[in-house]
Amino acid sequence: MWEQLIIQPMTNLLLFIYDVLGHGPHMFGLAIILFTIVVRLITWPLNSSQVKSSQAMQEFQNDKEWQDIQKKHAKDKEKLAQEQMRLYKERGINPFASCLPTLIQFPIIIGLYQSIIRALSVMPLDMLKLARTIYPFQNVEGIIPLNSKFLWMNLGSPESVQILGFAVPTLAVIVALTTYVQSKLTMPTSTNPTDQSAQMSSMMSIYMPLMLGWFALTFASGISIYFITSNLLGIIQYAATGRANWSNLLPGGNKKTVAKKK
C-alpha cells in the first residue's frame, strides 16, 4: 500500500523530472528542488489554510471574551472546554486545521527519503527495486544509473565540507537555520502571558530546527536539499501574505512587539 501510493509515484515523479532535465551531472539535485516546488504547489491550499488557521487561533487567544471566560472558569476545566468549543464554533475556527499540513509533511518526507535512496541505488538490491518501481512509460535505460553528484555533494551520502581539517556539515547548519527562520517568522505575537499556542510555537521553533538539523546530519544530503527548498518556499509563501513577523528573528523581538502592542 505504502509502496504503491507513496514510493512508486514519488520515485517516478522524481525520475520523470530528472529525465526531462536531461539526466546529466547535478540534474538529480535540481530534480529534487523542482520536485519540492511541485509538492509545495500541490499542498499550497493546505499551507494557506494552516496560515489562516494559525492567525485565527492567535486572534482567538487575544480575544477579550475568551480571556474573560478563562478567568471566570479558571477552576472548572470542563466548563472552560465547553465554552472554548462554543466560541470556536461561533467564530468558525477549526483548531485542528493548523496541524494537518504538518502531519501531511511526514509521509512526504519519509516517502521522499525512501525514493531518493532507491533512485540512487547504492547497492544491487536497491537497483533491482528501482527497476521494478519505474512505470513502463519512463525511459528506464536512459535514467539508470542516476548521477548522484550535485554541486560538491553526493546526494546519497550525508554532506560535509572540509574546513581547516574539520568536516563541517554545512547543509545541516543551513537546514537548521532556515527551519528556525521559518518557524520564527510564522510564530504569532501574543499579548496573553498564558497563551498556550504561543508557548507551543515557541517550543516548536526550538525542537524543529534541531530535529531537522539532525536528520540532515545523519541522512543522505538529497533530503537536506528538500528541507532547504521547502523551508525557503515556506518563508516566501508566508512573506507573501504580508504577515511575516520579521522582528521575531531578533533576540527579544517577540517581547518588543508585544510591548509595543500593549
Binding site: I110, Q114, I117, D126, L128, I144, P145, M211, F219
Partner: protein
C-alpha cells in the same frame, strides 16, 4: 499544555524513527549475500561477517571479523586464489580490501588495501599474479598478490558491480554507466569501450574472441576486435550473467523465463518459465541447469529448480527467503544463500534432497 507537549514530542519521535528505519544511515543499504566454495568449505559474505562453513555438515568453521563492526559490510562473492587466499572487500563505510586464509579466517596481508574511494560490491579477477579489483568508485585497481598497488588504477567510470572476466588476452569489464570496457592484459590499458545503452549489473560470459553481455533485455556479443552485435533478446530485463556451456548460451530474465540459445546456428533452442523471477545467474553443474528463482509466484518464497539440458523440470525445492545469489557447486552439492530466510546457506544434492542448512550462531 503538558499533554500537547507530549503529543508534539511523540510525533517528532515517531517521524524520526520512521525516517531512521528507512536506511542504515544514508549511503549503504542492505544487499544479498556473496557465495563461493571449494571442496572443503563454503564461504558466505553476509553483511557484517564472512563465514566459512564445513561442506560435510554445514557447521561454522570460522567467521571474519570475530566481532561485528558497523562500518564493515561484506556482500561480494569472495574469491579463492590458487596461492591459498580468500579475497574480499567491504561495501560499508570502511572500504578495506582484505585477504584471508581460507583455512583459518586469519588476515594474510600485512595491511589491507585502503586506496579505493568507495565500497566493494564486485569480486576481483586474479590472473598472471595480479589482482584486478573493480570498485564502486569507477576505478579498476591493480594489486600484487600481497595487496600492494602496482599500477595506477584504470578509470572505467560508473559504479563497478560485476567481476571482470578474461580470455587470457583481454579483460572484459561491464559498468553501470552502460559501458563494457575491453582492457589489454599486456599493457593494462583500455583498448576499447562500447556504450550499449543500458546499465549492466552483471559480468559478461567469455566466448571465442569476445564476451557475451546481458543487459536490459538483450544479449550482446562484444568482440575483441573492436566490434559488437546483438545476439538475441529476452522478454524482460536480464539481470544475471549469461552462462556459456560449449556452444550453448543459457540466461534468464526477471519474468522468470530461462533461455537456451545455440550460438552455432544463431537460434534459440528453447525457453521455459519454471518458476518466478530470476535475478541470479544460472548454474550449470553435471547434466543439470540450476535456476534460483527469486520467489515462487504462489508461496512468495525463494525456490531452487533443476532443469535438464532440454529445459524440462527435474525437481523444484522451496528454499525460503528470496533467492538473488547465484548458486554454487561443490562436489555433489549445490549451495544456495537465501536472503532474509531462517538460514544463511543451504546445500542440496543433485536429487534435490537437502543435505544441511547453516544458520550463524548469535
Amino acid at each position: 499544555m503538558k499533554t500537547k507537549r507530549l503529543i508534539l514530542i511523540s510525533l517528532l519521535a515517531i517521524g524520526a524513527m520512521l525516517l531512521s528505519a528507512c536506511s542504515g544511515g544514508g549511503t549503504v543499504s542492505n544487499n544479498w549475500h556473496g557465495l563461493a566454495a571449494d571442496a572443503e568449505h563454503a564461504y558466505v559474505s553476509a553483511g557484517s561477517f564472512v563465514y566459512a562453513v564445513d561442506m560435510k555438515n554445514g557447521s561454522e568453521v570460522w567467521r571474519y571479523p570475530t566481532k561485528a563492526d558497523n562500518d564493515i559490510l561484506y556482500f561480494a562473492n569472495p574469491v579463492l586464489t590458487s596461492d591459498g587466499q580468500l579475497l574480499i572487500g567491504s561495501a560499508g563505510k570502511n572500504h578495506d580490501f582484505i585477504s584471508l586464509d581460507p583455512a583459518t579466517g586469519k588476515e594474510k596481508w600485512a595491511s589491507a588495501f585502503t586506496g579505493a574511494k568507495s565500497g566493494w560490491v564486485a569480486s576481483p579477477l586474479i590472473i598472471s599474479g595480479k589482482i584486478y579489483a573493480p570498485n564502486t568508485d569507477g576505478f579498476l585497481y591493480i594489486l600484487d598478490m600481497s595487496g600492494k598497488q602496482i599500477a595506477d588504477p584504470i578509470e572505467i567510470g560508473g559504479a563497478l558491480w560485476s567481476a571482470p572476466v578474461t580470455d587470457g588476452e583481454f579483460i572484459y569489464l561491464s559498468s553501470l554507466d552502460h559501458r563494457v570496457s575491453v582492457i589489454s592484459l599486456t599493457e593494462d590499458v583500455v583498448s576499447y569501450t562500447f556504450d550499449l545503452g543500458g546499465a549492466i549489473p552483471s559480468s559478461p560470459a567469455i566466448g571465442a574472441h569476445g564476451a557475451y553481455v546481458g543487459y536490459a533485455s538483450t544479449i550482446e556479443f562484444v568482440k575483441s576486435n573492436n566490434d559488437h552485435e546483438v545476439v538475441t533478446r529476452a522478454e524482460n530485463r536480464i539481470w544475471g550473467s549469461p552462462v556459456l556451456d560449449g556452444e550453448t548460451l543459457y540466461f534468464a530474465d526477471l519474468d522468470g523465463n530461462v533461455y537456451s540459445f545455440d550460438l552455432a546456428s544463431g537460434r534459440q533452442n528453447w525457453s521455459v518459465k519454471p518458476n518466478g523471477s530470476v535475478v541470479a545467474s544460472l548454474l550449470v553443474a553435471g547434466d543439470q541447469l540450476y535456476v534460483a528463482s527469486e520467489a515462487d509466484p504462489s508461496s512468495e518464497l525463494g525456490t531452487l529448480v533443476a532443469l535438464d539440458r532440454e529445459g524440462k523440470t527435474i525437481w523444484t525445492k522451496e528454499v525460503g527467503g528470496k533467492l538473488y545469489t547465484t548458486p554454487a557447486a561443490s562436489g555433489d552439492l549445490i549451495l544456495v544463500a537465501p536472503y532474509q530466510a531462517e538460514f544463511t546457506l543451504a546445500a542440496y544434492d543433485a536429487e534435490g534432497k537437502q543435505a544441511w542448512t547453516f544458520t550463524p550462531a548469535k
